[in-house]
Subunit: 296 residues, 2 copies
């Protein structure tokens, strides 16, 4: 594969950035990849394991001369990092990010970027339960979606080039508007995390009473259901706060539907329950198995 960007800068060196580095090197799509992390310990680890061609001690050094800058920091600090690197950005370069929320990131990053720099926000739908510079691997993005969310008026050539990069890393790429992205992610990812935290909290209340029988007797389903409750609480606080408008709407819908179920239970209305269950089974079998059949 031929080079897509001569120089790429990775700002933040966690799971996503380290996986991007190994994947870009394997694909041969970037000549030099620089990296920066706020923590000295992370920078030292990166140097030790050969993560990035050059690890820099400031974010500005890392982005100097870069054709592509990838913000791989928590969504809560994207704006501050953009302000920090802005003076050092090469004219005409592309800035992207990998945050799980897009409206909030766009609102916080865009104002800092100089005229002539192309901002193409992105979100690779990939992850594991691990984090940090040593958790990355080149295959993370294979057959995963990467969503690009360019604001109206973004340079089309800049978008097309970033798309080629993600495709070279093995991803399927699609474009959508930021507001739509945030709603879809609230339903498929952010709300499930909130629900998993809720389930563990309720089980824990009961567990204290019952010497953890709740967990002891729980079928594998409950364990799987709540696995994501072991995710990094700080990262998820930031994501939830950044997407709070869409997410609180989705949560209100869940609460309303669960309230309907609880009421049907109280009045012993089996017909109503059956109607809801049958509709959900049909929807899941149709949508999900259809997708799985065609893609896996």
């Amino acid at each position: 594969m031929s080079v897509i960007y001569d120089r790429v800068a990775l700002i933040g060196l966690g799971l996503i950035a380290s996986s991007m580095f190994w994947a870009m090197k394997r694909a041969g799509v970037a000549d030099e990849v620089t990296g920066y992390a706020k923590s000295q310990e992370t920078r030292e680890t990166a140097r030790r394991i050969g993560l990035c061609d050059r690890v820099c001690d400031t974010a500005q050094q890392a982005v100097e001369g870069a054709d592509l800058v990838v913000l791989c920091v928590p969504v809560g600090v994207m704006g501050a990092v953009a302000a920090e690197i802005a003076p050092a950005l090469k004219p005409g370069c592309t800035v992207t990010d990998v945050g799980s929320v897009k409206r909030d990131v766009i609102a916080n990053v865009s104002p800092h970027l100089p005229e002539g720099v192309h901002f193409v926000p992105g979100h690779p739908l990939a992850g594991t339960e691990h984090s940090g510079p040593e958790s990355g691997f080149a295959e993370l993005f294979e057959n995963r979606w990467c969503l690009l969310v360019p604001p109206e008026g973004t340079d089309r050539e800049a978008v097309a080039r970033l798309r080629r990069l993600w495709e070279a890393l093995g991803s399927n790429v699609d474009e959508m508007e930021a507001e739509h992205h945030d709603l879809v992610l609230a339903v498929t990812s952010h709300a499930p995390h909130l629900i998993a935290y809720t389930m563990v909290g309720v089980a824990d209340d009961l567990g204290r009473v019952t010497d953890s029988e709740v967990i002891q007797y729980s079928a594998a389903g409950f364990r799987d259901f709540t696995r994501i409750a072991s995710s990094n609480p700080v990262m998820w606080r930031d994501i939830c706060i950044a997407n709070r408008a869409a997410l609180s709407d989705v949560m209100e819908r869940y609460i309303a539907e669960m309230g309907e179920l609880a009421q049907a239970l109280r009045r012993g209305d089996g017909d109503h329950l059956l109607e809801i269950f049958a509709r959900a089974k049909t929807a899941r079998d149709r949508y999900i198995d259809g997708i799985l059949d065609s893609s896996e």
Copy 2:
């Protein structure tokens, strides 16, 4: 292994009963196992595949002379089946069941059983997404919990004998009170099913608007989370109605906790979210990983 019951009758021939048959035969703990299913098609399938030593055309024929009768029918019909077999039960035999709810089953079954018959309600915590007489396999109960819920005053020898049977099938056996069982199962199994149905319903509402992008872009987590929404809606209606007292209490707790999260989101209260997330992560890591480390 030596014989524990000379004759066992399985009433209802789905996943649990067929797995019990193969497991009992493998362990050599029952001399003759009879079986009955309401549907003629199921009885014919059972005869064709050699499920049960003798398949009977009525439930009364199946239980005649049996030392152990296992009710493997949906929880909604346990009472009617108990009434049907009662006149044919051998004096001194043990009747058990495999229903997912215990208070409701005990209330519906006990009144029909004659004096001198021992009723020891049970619940093997095992299952797959498959059902029917051809879905059973001898290993289903290995390393799974089986909960026995004998009402106060139950003959201890009858309980001990049934425990030996489940242990011979590979299960870990524990005893608890019916009310406690129903609350624990509401938290670990029944409420998760209701939540999965809710999640699919909300996603479906959105999916119709967005050409099923919700599912297309959903990470594996959402798919796993909602897999149980493909379970049999009729069986789950019956379970939820039978356990509606405990289950509606648990649902109200979920709704209250989710409401608290939604309010914290609306006011942008990241500290409160972090507190809830961190507590849940600690609880899950402590309880679940502790259990997994020690048992798997």
